[in-house]
């Protein structure tokens, strides 16, 4: 077993337009999915993020940032256990919100200290 982070990406501008009620509806779907992952001993935790952002660079703090028009932003994360990255990706693929096209997930193993 290995730990993975599923980085959830969504169209943040669209998410803002959709409104709170719609976002909460989708969160309930995520909760039910998390419950099914917990049953298969894969779920470790996770949280959605607020849409509010600050982008920070060397020179200044950009309040909205240069990327506000970019389609996708990180809207949350999920941590899971999986046998390998193929399985982790297959699990992410099973998320109903991924299948309905509301969001995409980036799947990455958590780096462990192998000594150096």
């Amino acid at each position: 077993m290995q730990k993975f982070m599923l980085i959830v990406r969504e169209d943040l501008a669209q998410l803002k337009r959709d409104g709170e009620a719609e976002r909460f509806r989708r969160m309930r779907i995520m909760t039910a999915w998390a419950e099914s992952l917990q049953e298969s001993v894969n779920f470790l935790g996770g949280e959605p993020l607020e849409i509010t952002r600050r982008w920070v660079t060397r020179d200044q703090v950009l309040s909205d940032g240069p990327f506000i028009e970019s389609k996708e932003g990180i809207s949350g994360y999920i941590m899971i256990n999986a046998e390998n990255i193929e399985q982790a990706a297959a699990i992410a693929q099973g998320c109903p919100l991924v299948q309905q096209g509301f969001l995409i997930m980036e799947v990455s193993p958590i780096l462990l200290n192998n000594g150096c």
């Binding site: 969160m27 309930r28 909760t31 917990q38 298969s40 001993v41 935790g45 949280e47």
Partner: protein, 416 residues
């Protein structure tokens, strides 16, 4: 049957399981398979010896003594065998685990076709849900329509899963080569998960309303038993088997006369199947010493519930200790929720409510129906009707399951 045969027969029925577990507790150097052989041989020896010399004064004591001596001989032989064949390569048998290098294990292939298929379906690249689907299709031989109904998926969705999974199964080497235990052992854990999920699918929804679910639990039990008796079964297999048996024992009590869902507190405990509970206890003992696994913890918790004469006589403090262990193995907010509920029943309402309200703040858990249901029940028990009602009504908005809805509505009614 003469008197000796009758006595041996009776002792066999009464003592076989106890002798097995006593041998396994007696030494870590003996596995279940070997212990079963020893007990079997001991009974054969008893039959011969007692027919010649007559019954000993204490036949049971005779059996235990002989079986221990035979077990000791077997352990000595095995150690000699390992030293000779593995060039002194390690004391694996002393550690009680089986690794891929074990010469003894490698020479014993699985003889059960179904088990080999089961291992093929637990392909590590597939999501557990997909592993469940293909196991139901290829091992349990269910039709796609039935699988879709059980898992609440569309036929189309199942077909897509199957077509992706078929490629993996085709590539699966263990199906086409003589399966060696060494090839199967790394996958035992995945197989356990598939069996666990299949049992749960059968268990969690309405018992008796759909016959197929009943069969699902049975299939999972049969496969787990077969695995526990095979050379690749380990202590975790016994823990899983115990967990399933404890739950299966309580199945008939889960629904009331009108088919309504009953919780642990309301269930008629005389309906619990004591034979299954005893069998579960034996398996839990077999599982002991294998290091804590999530199944072991869950089985131990279920065992404590089964051992309690009434809901209020439950050993909540022991249950809390095991939940702590479980959180160490599998930290997640869902386990914390159950932990908090156990803390409440142990009498520490402050701590329990503290944990639950903390969980409520989380975006995902705050929308989990069971969290609201638990808070509702606790406030109802505390006599705070207003808050109880609030939480229970939120619960109704968060679930679509008809059984759960009926259950919560009954709770609300009871309060009024």
């Amino acid at each position: 049957m003469d008197i000796v045969e009758m006595e041996v027969d009776k002792l066999y029925r009464d003592q076989f399981g106890k002798m097995l577990s006593s041998l396994l507790r007696f030494s870590d150097d003996i596995d279940l398979e070997a212990a079963e052989d020893v007990v079997q041989d001991t009974f054969s020896a008893a039959l011969v010896a007692w027919k010649m010399d007559g019954l000993p004064d204490n036949p049971a004591a005779w059996l235990y003594k002989v079986s221990r001596n035979r077990a000791l001989n077997k352990i000595k032989e095995a150690k000699k065998f390992v030293r000779k064949n593995a060039g002194g390569g390690g004391d694996w048998i002393g550690e009680g685990n089986v690794g891929p290098e074990d010469p003894v294990v490698q020479s014993m292939p699985l003889d059960d076709e179904q088990l080999v298929l089961l291992f093929a379906c637990a392909h590590p690249d597939l999501a557990p849900k997909v592993q469940v689907v293909i196991t139901l299709k290829y091992v349990v031989n269910l039709k796609v329509e039935a699988i879709a109904r059980i898992l609440g998926l569309t036929i189309d969705g199942i077909d897509k899963m199957l077509s992706r999974a078929r490629q993996k199964i085709r590539d699966e080497r263990i199906l086409f080569h003589e399966p060696s235990a060494a090839a199967l052992i790394p996958r035992v854990h995945s197989v356990h998960k598939v069996l666990y999920l299949i049992f749960n699918e059968g268990y969690k929804s309405s018992w008796g309303k759909e016959l197929i679910r009943e069969e699902l639990c049975e299939e999972a039990l049969i496969m787990t038993r077969a695995l526990s008796r095979s050379v690749v079964g380990d202590r975790e297999t016994h823990a899983l088997y115990a967990l399933m048996l404890f739950n299966a024992a309580r199945i008939k009590a889960r629904f009331g006369r009108d088919g309504e869902l009953l919780d642990l507190e309301e269930q008629d405990r005389t309906l619990w199947d004591q034979d299954l509970i005893r069998l579960a206890m034996v398996n839990l003992e077999f599982a002991h010493g294998g290091g804590a696994s999530t199944y072991y913890c869950e089985a131990a918790i279920a065992g404590l519930h089964c051992a309690a004469e009434t809901f209020w006589a439950t050993n909540w403090n022991a249950i809390i200790r095991i939940y702590k262990q479980l959180i160490g193995l599998q930290a997640n907010p869902f386990v914390e929720l159950n932990y908090a509920v156990a803390i409440y029943y142990s009498g520490d309402r402050e701590q329990a409510l503290g944990i639950l309200h903390e969980l409520e703040k989380q975006a995902f858990l705050g929308r989990y129906y069971l969290l609201h249901a638990s808070l509702g029940r606790i406030y109802a028990a505390e006599g705070n009707k207003e808050r109880a009602k609030e939480y229970l009504e939120t619960t109704l908005r968060l679930t679509n399951a008809p059984d759960e809805i009926a259950f919560v509505q009954r709770l609300i009614k009871k309060m009024e």
